[in-house]
Symmetry: C2
Amino acid sequence: MEKTDVYIDFERSLGPWIGRTSKMVDYYIQEALEKHGLDLTKEQMVVLKKVNDQNGLNQNELAFLTYRDKSSLARLLAKMEKKGYLYRQQNADDKRINEVFLTPMGQDIFQECKVVINKIIQTIEKNIDESEIQQMIRILKKVQQNFSGGLPD
Amino acid sequence: MEKTDVYIDFERSLGPWIGRTSKMVDYYIQEALEKHGLDLTKEQMVVLKKVNDQNGLNQNELAFLTYRDKSSLARLLAKMEKKGYLYRQQNADDKRINEVFLTPMGQDIFQECKVVINKIIQTIEKNIDESEIQQMIRILKKVQQNFSGGLPD
DNA sequence: CCCATATAGTTGCACGTGCAACTATAGTTA
DNA sequence: TAACTATAGTTGCACGTGCAACTATATGGG
C-alpha cells in the first residue's frame, strides 16, 4: 500500500466492534426467550416492558420511547394484540389516539420475561465490574453525541 | 415495588446502550452513503469491502467473514451483481463453489466508499482518545466472550 | 459402481426496518 | 361553516435477517 493511499482500518475502529457485539447480544436475547418458551421476539419484549412500565401510552409515544418508526411500532403492536398480550383503546376525547394496555395474559408473560431479562443482564456483565460499565456507558454516550451534529461536509 | 420483587434496570445496563449506539451508527452510515450519492446499503458496503480486500472468496467464506447467514449473503450478492458491482464465477474443479470478484465498476465504487468509511471512523471517534478506544474494545471483547459459553440454566 | 453422506448455494417463510403516501380526526383561521 | 393545517395511525414498498428445506455437486466406503 502506498503512503498516499487512504488506509482503512475499520476493524480496529469502534464501529464494527459495537455492531458485532450488538448483534451477539440480540442473538443471545432471542435464544434466551425461546429457551424459556416465551412466544416473543426481542423487539416485542422491549415493547412489552415499556407498556408494562407505563400503561396507556399512545402509539407515537411508544414508538419514540422504543426508538422505532411509528409504522414499525404499529406492526409490532398488531402482532402482540393478535397473540392477546395487549390491546389498543381509542381515546374518547381524541379519536385519532390509541392507548395501549397489557392484558392479564400480557402481564403474566412479562413476569416470565423479567426473569429472562435479569439473566441477560447478568450474562452480559459477567466479569465486568461496575467501574468498567460506567466507563463504557460514558464512552457510548460520547459516540452518540458525535452523531447529533449531523454529517460533516 | 416490594423488596422481594426482581428489580429491572435494563436501561442502566450495558445491553440497551450498545444496541442503541449500534442503531445510531447504522443510521449514520446509511445517511453518509446516500449523501455521497453511493447506491449502496451499509450491508452491501461491508461485502464490497471484504471482496475488495480478498478477491475470489467463495460465498460461504464471505458469509462467515461478514457474520451473516449464507442465505442472507446470497441475496446481498444477487443485488450487487445485478447492479454490476461484482460477479460470481463457478470454480472449475468444484462446480458447487462460486468465487466472488469485483468488477471494475465495483472497484470504482469502493474507492468512493473508502472516503466515506474514513469519514465515518473519524466521526464515531471524535473527542474519544486512543486509550478510551482500546478500553472500550477490551470491554466489548469481554461481553462477546460472555456469550461463548452458551446460555446459563 | 452405487449408495450414503457432506457441502455450496438457493428459495420460501416469517420476522423486523424506515420512508413515503394515504386516511381519519382535530384544531385553527377566514 | 368552510378551508387549511397538523397529527395519529395504517399500508405499500424495498431492504435485510435467520432458519429449514431443497437442489446439485463431491466424496468416501462397501
